[in-house]
C-alpha cells in the first residue's frame, strides 16, 4: 500500500517536473466547427479567420513564448456530433481552449461538455440570446454580437430615420422566426414605433402573396422580416411584383439577405437594411489591414464570422498574458471585463454574462453591396445582463 502511494507520488512529481521542463510546449486550441453540410460556408470563414490570426500571433512570438496550435474537428452543425468531437478534443487532444461552434444548439451543448471537463470555450458565431442570457455558463464566452444587439442597433437606426414608424412583422413560423420578431418588436416599440400587425408564414412557403392582403390592410411604412435563404428570394421578388416595395422600407434579421441569396433577389433587395456586428466596408486602419491580409490568404472578403473568429485569438492571447497561465480559473478571471482590439474596433467582454460589447453597424443594400449607413455604440446595443448563474 505504502509502495503504491510512493509510486503515485513519484509519478505526480515527475509529471510536474515534465510540464515545467516543457513550458515552451504549444498552446492547443480545439476548433469544433461545421466543415461539411448546410453551414460549411460559415465554418470555412471561421477556419480562415482563426488560421490567419494564429499565423500572425505565432510569427510575432506566440503567446508567452509558446506557439499556438489549432486542431479542427467537423461538427456538421449537429449538436450531438459537436458534443462527441468536443469531448474527444478535451480528453484525447488535451486542448487548452475550444471554439468554432456555429449552431446555437451546438454552442449550448458544448458549453456543458466544457463545464464537465473544467475548460473554457468561446463562440464566434452563434446568435441565440440565451447563450449569454438565461442559459449562460461560467465556462462559455461569446465574442460576436447576439441577436438582441443586432435588433437594438436596427431599432436605433429606425427611430432616427423613420420616427414613430408603423411597422408590420413577417417571420417564418418556428423558434428563430418567432424569437427574432419578438426581439425586434420590443426594441422598436421602446424607441416609439407602432406595431400594425404580424404574420408567421410556414417555413419554405412558395407564395407569400396570400399574406399581402393583411400587409396592405395594415398600411405599414416599415416591414420587418426574418425569413432566410430561398424564402427571402420569393418574398422580396413577390413584393416587388405586386408593387409593394414602393414607399415601404424593408428591414430584417442579419441572416435574411446574405451573399448566398443576394444575387438571386437582385434589384428587389435594394434598400434592405439590417443590423450587424461587422462589415468588410468598415473604414478603419485595423480593418483595412485585416481585410487585405484575409483576401491575400483566401482570395475572398471576410464576413462577420471570419472577422469575429480572427478577433477571438487576440482575446485569448490577451487573457492568457494577463493571467500568465492557461489555467481555467485564472483565464476566466482575466477574461472578466477584458478589452482588446479587433478588426471592428475595441471590444469589451462583459464579466457579468460573458457577452462581448462592440460597436454595432447598420448596413443597407446599395447597388448590390452592403454599405454602412449608421453605427450604434456597444454600450447602447448590448442590453441588460440576464444571466443569473454566476
Amino acid at each position: 500500500m505504502t509502495h503504491t502511494k510512493t509510486t503515485i507520488l513519484a509519478a505526480l512529481m515527475s509529471a510536474t517536473a515534465l510540464s515545467a521542463a516543457y513550458a515552451a510546449d504549444p498552446i492547443k486550441i480545439g476548433v469544433v466547427t461545421p466543415l461539411s453540410g448546410t453551414y460549411a460556408g460559415i465554418g470555412q470563414q471561421v477556419k480562415w479567420g482563426l488560421e490567419l490570426a494564429t499565423k500572425e500571433v505565432n510569427a510575432s512570438g506566440g503567446i508567452m513564448g509558446r506557439q499556438v496550435e489549432l486542431t479542427f474537428e467537423d461538427e456538421e452543425a449537429n449538436p450531438s456530433v459537436a458534443v462527441q468531437k468536443a469531448d474527444k478534443l478535451f480528453q484525447v487532444g488535451k486542448v487548452d481552449f475550444l471554439t468554432g461552434t456555429v449552431n446555437s444548439g451546438s454552442t449550448l451543448a458544448v458549453g456543458q461538455v466544457a463545464e464537465r471537463a473544467g475548460k473554457l470555450i468561446a463562440t464566434t458565431v452563434s446568435f441565440a440570446d440565451s447563450i449569454t442570457g438565461d442559459k449562460c455558463s461560467p465556462n462559455v464566452f461569446r465574442v460576436n454580437a447576439r441577436a438582441g444587439q443586432q435588433s437594438a442597433a436596427l431599432a436605433v437606426w429606425l427611430s432616427k430615420e423613420k420616427p414613430k414608424a408603423q411597422v408590420f412583422y413577417l417571420g417564418p413560423d418556428y423558434e428563430m422566426g418567432r424569437s427574432t420578431v419578438a426581439a425586434f418588436k420590443s426594441s422598436a416599440e421602446k424607441v416609439g414605433a407602432n406595431s400594425t400587425g404580424e404574420v408567421f408564414a410556414p417555413l419554405d412557403s412558395k407564395d407569400y402573396t396570400q399574406y399581402f392582403g393583411q400587409l396592405r390592410a395594415a398600411k405599414p411604412q416599415v416591414l420587418y422580416t426574418s425569413v432566410a435563404g430561398n424564402d427571402t428570394v420569393r418574398l422580396f421578388t413577390q413584393l416587388q411584383e405586386f408593387g409593394l416595395l414602393n414607399n415601404l422600407t424593408v428591414v430584417g434579421a442579419s441572416g435574411t439577405v446574405t451573399a448566398q441569396n443576394l444575387g438571386a433577389i437582385g434589384k428587389a433587395a435594394e434598400g434592405f437594411v439590417t443590423g450587424v456586428g461587422y462589415s468588410a466596408e468598415i473604414d478603419t486602419p485595423e480593418n483595412k489591414k485585416f481585410v487585405a491580409a484575409f483576401k491575400a490568404a483566401n482570395k475572398i472578403d471576410p464576413d462577420l464570422y471570419g472577422a469575429d473568429s480572427y478577433g477571438l485569438i487576440y482575446a485569448y492571447k490577451a487573457a492568457v498574458e494577463k493571467a500568465k497561465s492557461t489555467d481555467t480559473d485564472k483565464v476566466r478571471a482575466a477574461f472578466k471585463d477584458l478589452k482588446w482590439m479587433t478588426p471592428q474596433g475595441e471590444k469589451t467582454l462583459r464579466g457579468a454574462d460573458h457577452q462581448a460589447a462592440q460597436t454595432m453597424y447598420v448596413v443597407r443594400v446599395t447597388g448590390g453591396k452592403f454599405k454602412i449607413v449608421g453605427q450604434v455604440n456597444g454600450s447602447d446595443a448590448i442590453g441588460p445582463d440576464a444571466c443569473t448563474k454566476f
Binding site: 413560423d173 404574420v199 408567421f200 408564414a201 410556414p202 419554405d204 412557403s205 412558395k206 407564395d207 402573396t209 396570400q210 399574406y211 399581402f212 392582403g213 393583411q214 396592405r216 390592410a217 435563404g229 430561398n230 428570394v233 420569393r234 421578388t237 413577390q238 411584383e241 405586386f242 408593387g243 448566398q260 441569396n261 444575387g263 438571386a264 433577389i265 437582385g266
Partner: protein, 297 residues
C-alpha cells in the same frame, strides 16, 4: 353595405385572384401526375423533380440567350424523350411485378432523389431568379394583378383546355383511354399499347417541365423546388379522382380557394392541414374521388 363592398373589393377579391393563380399552378403540375396515374397506374414520386428539371433546362438555355417564348415551346419538346426513356428504360422493368404500386413508387422516389442531387451538383445549392418575362401590372376595379400572373391564368387555362381536347376528342386520346380501360383488349384491336404507355408518361413529364418553365419566374429555381407543389398536387389528384382531368381542375380550383380564403382568418400555418384534412375525409367517404378514373366513364 358599402363596407361589405369595400371588403370584397380590397380584401376578398384580390385574395381570391391570388388563389386562382396558385390554383392554375397546382393544376399544371397535377395534370401530368393524373394522366400518368390514370393510364399507367403508376404513382410518379419523381414528378416534382421533372418540374424542377424543366425549370433548370430553361435556366440553362436562357443563359445562352434563348428567349422565354421559345423556351415555352422548346422545353416540353426536350422533356418528351426524357420521359419516354424513363418509362421504357426504368419503369417497364419493374412494371410487371405483382407489387407494381410499391416497386414503381420506390423506383420513382429514388429517381427523384438522384435528380435532386444532380441539380445540386450541376447548379449548386443557391437559388436563381429568372427575369419575369412580362413586367408591370393591370388594375381593374381597384384590384391589382401583376401582368405575368394574369398571363399565367390565361395560358394555364389554354393548356388545360388543350390537354382535355387531346384526351377526350382525338383518335390519339381515344387510344389512350382504351389502353387505360383494358390494355389487353386495346392491344388485340391493334393499339400499340407499349408506345401509348411510354408516350403518355412522356406527355405527363413534358407537362411538368412546361409548368417548371412557366412558374420559375414566380417561385425561383433551386434543387429542392420539386418538393414545393408535390404534396398539393397529390392532394388535388386524390380529391379529384385519380386519373380524371376534370377532377384535377375542379379540385385544384376549390382547394386553393379554400387555402386562400382560410389564410385571411386563421394562421396561414393551418391552411395546409385543412387541405389535407379534406383529402383524408374524401378518402374515407368517397375513395374514388370527385370524378372517376381516366377511361372509366
Amino acid at each position: 353595405m358599402s363596407a361589405a363592398i369595400e371588403y370584397f373589393q380590397f380584401v376578398l377579391a384580390p385574395q381570391m385572384l391570388i388563389g386562382l393563380v396558385l390554383g392554375v399552378a397546382v393544376i399544371l403540375v397535377a395534370l401530368g401526375l393524373t394522366i400518368i396515374f390514370g393510364l399507367l397506374d403508376v404513382i410518379n414520386m419523381s414528378h416534382g423533380e421533372f418540374y424542377a428539371l424543366g425549370a433548370f433546362i430553361a435556366l440553362a438555355l436562357a443563359a445562352v440567350g434563348l428567349p422565354f417564348w421559345l423556351l415555352l415551346m422548346l422545353v416540353p419538346l426536350l422533356m418528351l424523350p426524357v420521359g419516354y426513356i424513363v418509362e421504357r428504360g426504368l419503369i417497364q422493368r419493374v412494371f410487371h411485378s405483382g407489387e407494381r404500386h410499391v416497386t414503381t413508387l420506390l423506383l420513382t422516389f429514388g429517381l427523384g432523389l438522384v435528380l435532386e442531387d444532380v441539380f445540386r451538383l450541376v447548379f449548386g445549392p443557391n437559388p436563381y431568379k429568372p427575369e419575369t418575362p412580362i413586367v408591370g401590372g393591370v388594375e381593374a376595379l381597384g384590384i391589382f394583378i401583376p401582368s405575368y400572373r394574369l398571363f399565367l391564368i390565361l395560358v394555364g387555362a389554354a393548356i388545360i383546355a388543350g390537354v382535355a381536347l387531346v384526351v377526350y376528342k382525338t383518335r390519339l386520346g381515344a387510344m389512350v383511354r382504351a389502353a387505360a380501360y383494358d390494355r389487353n383488349m386495346a392491344a388485340s384491336l391493334g393499339v400499340p399499347v407499349q408506345h401509348v404507355y411510354a408516350g403518355a408518361f412522356a406527355f405527363g413529364v413534358a407537362l411538368a417541365g412546361l409548368a417548371g418553365v412557366l412558374l420559375a419566374p414566380l417561385y425561383s429555381v433551386f434543387p429542392t423546388m420539386g418538393r414545393d407543389f408535390i404534396l398539393m398536387a397529390f392532394t388535388v389528384v386524390i380529391v379529384g379522382g385519380m386519373g380524371s382531368i376534370a377532377g384535377v381542375v375542379v379540385a385544384g380550383l376549390v382547394l386553393t380557394q379554400v387555402q386562400a380564403i382560410v389564410s385571411l382568418y386563421i394562421s396561414p400555418v393551418w391552411s395546409d392541414p385543412i387541405v389535407f384534412g379534406i383529402m383524408v375525409i374524401m378518402l374515407m367517404v368517397r375513395p374514388q374521388g370527385l370524378f372517376g378514373r381516366l377511361g372509366h366513364g
